[in-house]
């Protein structure tokens, strides 16, 4: 069975600091991985996605993620966070011929001004 684990439920960093949000997945097939973000009072928005090729993928607002097959990970990074990055971030695995998503539990990021 497939699963996605985000080990850090809450992360707090200061504005301007670097960020890494961790994501581990378990899936026997080819993973299609996404990071979605949910800002307060808004719907889920796509940050970036990985299907194949270069393991480092670039997303919106300066976010990037690195896929590691050997570690079964897809960690999200940002070099310098802004207070507006405060939100809940979900790591997501797409499976079953593309029809279904498995969400990680989410990481609530708080950026201190």
């Amino acid at each position: 069975a497939q699963s996605v684990t985000q080990p850090d439920a809450r992360v707090t960093v200061s504005e301007g600091a670097s960020l890494q949000l961790r994501c581990k997945y378990s899936y026997s097939g080819t993973p299609y991985l996404f990071w979605y973000v949910q800002y307060p009072r808004q719907g889920l928005q796509l940050l970036l996605k990985y299907y194949s090729g270069d393991p480092v993928v670039q997303g919106v607002n300066g976010f990037e993620a690195e896929f590691s097959k050997s570690n079964s990970s897809f960690h999200l990074r940002k070099a310098s966070v802004h207070w507006s990055d405060s939100a809940v971030y979900f790591c997501v695995l797409r499976y079953n011929a593309g029809a279904k998503l498995t969400f990680g539990g989410g990481t609530r990021l708080t950026v201190r001004p």
Partner: protein
């Protein structure tokens, strides 16, 4: 237009009363999904339509109904609301035969009193 629209944004319901939530998209996506999200939890897939075929998750099979009268619209129906149904309900759509992402609506926040 790459948006998924959900109505209403907020819904108040009484215990034991029916609830009907509406979702629409104009991207000609063949697949539409309904997720339930409770605070501090990951979104949980309730059901999805691939074209006219309804797929319901095993643990929510009897609690939720849905209809899709045409490609653009999909509803979620609760026959008798209970307190445990209070949650955010997220509609999403995608093209199942590609590896593209899901597009999410803003959600409908249902409060059952």
């Amino acid at each position: 237009d790459t948006t998924v629209k959900q109505n209403p944004r907020y819904k108040l319901a009484r215990v034991g009363k029916p609830v009907n939530l509406i979702c629409s998209q104009t991207m000609n996506h063949d697949t539409m999904y309904w997720y339930q999200k409770k605070p501090n939890q990951a979104p949980k897939l309730l059901l999805f339509y691939y074209d006219k075929i309804l797929n319901r998750e095993a643990d929510t099979f009897e609690k939720f109904q849905s209809s899709r009268p045409n490609n653009s619209f999909c509803s979620l129906y609760i026959g008798s609301a209970g307190l445990e149904y209070s949650a955010m309900y997220l509609c999403a759509s995608s093209s199942a035969n590609s590896n593209e992402r899901l597009f999410f609506g803003h959600g409908t926040k249902l409060s059952v009193l």
